[in-house]
Amino acid sequence: MPEPIEVSPPQSAPLPPVLGGSPLETLPEPPPEGTRSAAEEGLSIEARSQFRMAAERFIHHKLALLGGSIFIFLLLLSTVGAHFWRYGHAQITGQFGTGPSLQHPFGTDTIGHDLFAQVLTGTATSIETAVVVAVIATVIGTLIGAVAGYYGGWLDAVLMRFTDLVLVVPLLAVLLVLAAGVHNLAGNWLVIALVLALLLWTYLARLVRGTFLSLREREFIEAEWAIGASDWRIILRHMIPNAIGPIVVNATLTVATAMLIEAILSFLGLGIQPPDVSLGSLINAGQGDATALPWLFYFPSGILVLAILSVNFLGDGLRDALDPSQRVRA
């Protein structure tokens, strides 16, 4: 039952550059003229954009700010900082299995690698892999979820059955099989990233599908249909911006998941292969000497946990800011 046409002009006007466009969130109505007793008393009410409201909520989330700062710090340190460090990650230093010192802040391994240089490179690999996974998985998940939610039909059916399958088969084991298949072909981190992305999009696809199913019934979408907007225009210009909150949050949390899984794969020898190093493969290499040379274990795993923790805090803060309906009570 279409709404009267008069609804469409204001609604079909481009939405504000929404970041927090979850359906439950509406802008506070500016008080009508003449009733501004509060403004007269000096408490003026300023109209705030959705983006600004989200940003304010985010700023108030101290742990999220901390998490974001740590993550950016680790990213810069491992990508930019590594170029300024006195050792390369594959360089043999002549110091074998020495503990942390001023010369080697994280110590050296038995072959003579400077562990700090290795951890920097490993962190860069882990973060890059995880970010690539998150980007690819988010694009695939959003597209498939969008098409399934918007059109329904066979793609929707296939997606839902696929989801059923994913629920009964341990994901980690499937990834191990895939990784075992590709690790002989290439130890390239990009291959591992593709393998991870291939399986990590399903959760987001379901999320986007659900959001689209409910958005489809809203009046402003109906208005779009009424004025003859194309399907792609509706999806890209109107529906995705309204689902962007959950998408961004999920993309962030996928970075954490990908780092965790990549570390496990690399630890088991099926992930990142030499000459590339990742934190997982470093921990695997250091594990043999863990009791005698404990720094080989402490530093890579400490940085790994710190990185994952920081992304999780960041994701949680973003969830509170962008997607309050999904919020787990803090």
Binding site: L165, A173, A256, I283, A290, F297, V305, I308, F313
Partner: protein, 327 residues
């Protein structure tokens, strides 16, 4: 209820068959088990041809799957690339894994409920902040990091402190121990660390759900009513609040069970248990790999356990929430 269970089991079997087919394709296409043999110039062509014959690699993929499926339906898991039958190895190895998974899951559930409820009741207290922080740390820690930490650092110091080995770090038991009491003590001493690892990794997420669902319930009107009509706080908490707060958590735990099995796989490898997970890992990365029949057995049995677990959760759901009727 009977019809509901029957329908769910039927759906589960269909799902299992589809999954088994896809996994079979995936594993078969993921590698050539004879690659190492073929790369070795000292091995005669005839030997390789014989091995190929023995592994049925000459047949088309679909035919191989069909052979596997007909065998499986008759309770035959096929032969491993080592020549041993897969079927007889499944149960002993599964028992080893369950020795870790069952206690860990039970303890994790109890711990998650306890921590979640305390966190919700004492919201924003020191206990709450502390348990929230710990939960974050645990679900940001890869299983193997925690396992190595316990194994190579805590256990060594602990055993030194006690003066003899209490916390074993390798294997699921000591071979050659006899007598029922000794076997039991030995098994427990081997099981403690893996169970602690798996428990800590799993309880963290669950406790967050429990806390948030408990907070939702505690703010509900019917809880205010229960308090207003003068029920004791204890009764309000346990009978009215907790029972309702358990409902969403049940689903989370059931859906998360696949992750527990994945976690057990890694834990087993770090602690050197000859369990079901290592069986899978050896089948995947061993000398003649991928060993399709071994990997396939692991997947099918894991999936069956997960489906069963989900079914139990659905039934529990009905017990916890009498409004839910299974038609």
């Amino acid at each position: 209820m009977g019809a509901f269970i029957a329908r769910r089991i039927a759906a589960g079997i269909v799902l299992l068959l589809v999954a088994s087919f896809l996994i079979y394709l995936l594993v078969s296409l993921s590698g050539n088990p004879l690659a190492a043999l073929e790369a070795n110039p000292h091995i005669a062509k005839a030997t390789i041809a014989a091995a190929r014959e023995q592994l049925h690699l000459n047949e088309p993929l679909l035919e191989r799957y069909w052979t596997w499926l007909t065998g499986f339906l008759q309770g035959n898991f096929g032969t491993a690339t080592t020549g041993q039958a897969v079927g007889p190895q499944v149960l002993p190895r599964l028992v080893v894994t369950l020795q870790m998974v069952i206690p860990a899951t039970l303890i994790a559930i109890v711990l998650a409920i306890l921590v979640g409820v305390v966190g919700a009741v004492k919201q924003y207290s020191i206990v709450d902040h502390l348990s929230t922080g710990l939960a974050y740390v645990f679900f940001s820690t890869p299983v193997f990091v925690l396992a190595i930490l316990l194994k190579d650092f805590l256990a060594v110091d602990f055993n030194k402190g006690v003066g003899h080995t209490v916390l074993y770090t390798i294997g699921q038991n000591t071979p050659g121990v006899t007598g029922f009491g000794n076997v039991a003590v030995d098994a427990i001493e081997h099981t403690i660390l893996p169970v602690v690892t798996l428990t800590l990794i799993t309880y963290a997420t669950w406790s967050r759900y429990q806390r948030s669902s408990m907070l939702d319930v505690l703010n509900a009107d019917y809880i205010r009513l229960a308090r207003a009509k003068g029920l004791s706080p204890r009764r309000v908490l346990y009978v009215h609040a907790l029972r309702n707060a358990l409902i969403p958590v049940t689903t989370v735990i059931a859906l998360d069970f696949a992750a527990v099995i994945g976690g057990a796989l890694v834990t087993e490898i770090v602690f050197g248990w000859e369990g079901f997970g290592r069986f899978f890992y050896t089948g995947l990365t061993g000398p003649v790999s991928p060993d399709v029949n071994v990997v396939q057995a692991w997947f099918v049995i894991s999936a069956a356990i997960i489906i069963l677990f989900n079914l139990i959760a659905d039934i529990l759901y009905g017990v916890l929430d009498p409004r839910i009727r299974y038609a």
